[in-house]
Homo-oligomer: 227 residues x 3
């Protein structure tokens, strides 16, 4: 609960923020909820834990900046959920992912929420119903991670992703991330309709104009990062 509250406070927005990178010390990215804490709690404290967890997951999506998970090791249960809830995931090839709650009588129902939206059904069902882990390579094939890299290249490859993000306009990425999640829940026809408006607005933003001018003039863009 302390970790959830710390994360909920830490991922607040700020106009100078450009990107969030979540990583862990040691060889466990996150093993999820603390079963001892749940054991000693009551219904009210259980509800508070899961509501705090939901708040964190939805906040990662609604933040205007990209959220990257750098995974090196085990991501299990709500730890696997946290991975699946980030925008981009860079994992070392020795990492593994699992939703083993069923083995201790607590089915990974909330980890399943982002899991079934990221991993094909036959594999997400297998993970949820058996609790068996999948390797980083299988997680990449399945779509749960964006990039799988050798363990000794993890920092370097993550840094490339971060640099690619901070070289762009904060305002343009904010508009893009917001629409990306929004349109995914519309019918395809309505998504296209809404998309045309977003494109026209984007072109007429200060950083949209600057981007096109810099391209035509073959020079580097100077972003205002403002809406």
């Amino acid at each position: 609960m302390k970790m959830l509250e710390a994360l909920n406070s830490a991922v607040a927005d700020d106009s100078s923020l450009r990107c969030i990178l979540l990583r862990a010390e040691g060889n466990v990215f996150s093993a999820g909820h603390n079963l001892k804490e749940i054991h000693s709690g009551n219904i009210e404290s259980h509800r508070a834990v899961f509501e705090s967890c939901n708040r964190l997951m939805l906040r990662l999506r609604s933040l205007p900046v990209p959220v990257i998970a750098q995974v090196d090791g085990i991501a299990a249960a709500a730890g696997c959920q946290l991975v699946a809830a980030c925008d981009i995931v860079v994992a070392s090839d020795t990492s593994s992912f699992s939703t083993p709650g069923g083995s201790v009588g607590i089915f990974c129902s909330t980890p399943g929420v982002p899991l079934v939206r990221n991993v094909p059904r036959k594999l997400s069902s297998y993970m949820l119903l058996t609790g068996s882990p999948i390797s980083a390579q299988t997680a990449f094939t399945a779509g749960l991670v964006s990039l799988v890299v050798p363990k000794d290249k993890l920092e370097e490859e993550t840094q490339c992703v971060v640099e690619s993000i901070v070289s762009k306009s904060r305002a343009v990425l904010a508009l893009g991330k917001r629409f990306m999640y929004q349109q995914a829940e519309l019918t395809e026809e309505n998504a296209y309709k809404a998309g045309a408006d977003v494109m026209v607005n984007n072109i007429n933003m200060a950083d949209g104009q600057e981007g096109i001018c810099s391209f035509v003039e073959k020079r580097k863009p100077h972003w205002t990062h403002e809406d």
Copy 2:
């Protein structure tokens, strides 16, 4: 029609049931509907066949226990649909999957229902529009199968999946499977909200309490398997 009726009767629930395993004799898992039967039938008999088939597919999802397809060979048309409609699929590496109905003038429209929900669009469109088969390895990459294993390991690997399921609480897996399909059709925000309630209820079930206690006490859990 006889096979559909036999399957519809066979997959009935029973409180001692823990898992269903569907497999075939020989090197065809299922080639789908019997075209000769359709040829000699009339509109009423055609409708009865597809309604019985729909009933079977939806029943597999609504059963409280996991349903595993063990595939060793050809799964074509409604046979491929049956595979896609199970919770978990273990396939030998010599298996193949196809929806070739268009070649005989009967587009695989109903097999397409679970196919497009399991396999990315460009591959499911290709399978449906050309009728070409895909290999077990491609089916795994695409998400249609959970595990692809060497033919001589098929029994052993399937048995591991079964053992993993029967080692868990029937009641916990039932709750988990039901919510997994239910939340997948909600918006992500509503899925999280509903998920928090499911987690709190799960923790306070007899087998939820037993699971957490056994974890804290470092012993094996003894499940009641009851809701």
Copy 3:
């Protein structure tokens, strides 16, 4: 804008049309919108470009014949969108796919519409937020292309797909393609219900009857291609 209008006119239906194949000359399939044209335009012209583009994408889906993209080289921004909007994609192994608009201040919001419906979220977010390209092999693994083939086999493999399509009944593929997209936006239960009607109608079409008879009589079918 000229190219969009030319494509919009070219992809009109005609009862003798059986399949559409989109390909490019040279080593760029399409680099998307012309930024110089956008630079010199005004809000009205910007809106006209994106509405024409939306019209093309939705028309590809609503056409009664399969649309194949043959990709050999770069498919970027709206070029990647065009790929994702076709029914079937055959790509050479040296092709690449990207949505790099953010780098020039114009987030690939409309390319994202078919992208997030074809490519798992963690990879589509990565492509949209960083602009980094993915290889043909990764695009196949992710589900953005149907087949990836060696560059020197591209014509031959595309021709196999075309032949497979033209060997079938135009009317049956039209019914199948229409239902495939329609059912994908229903709940699974409603999709099955609607599917039973489609199957019964298909069996009782002239080409449905001819297909089943030819199968039972072990001869080649002779299609009318008529509804």
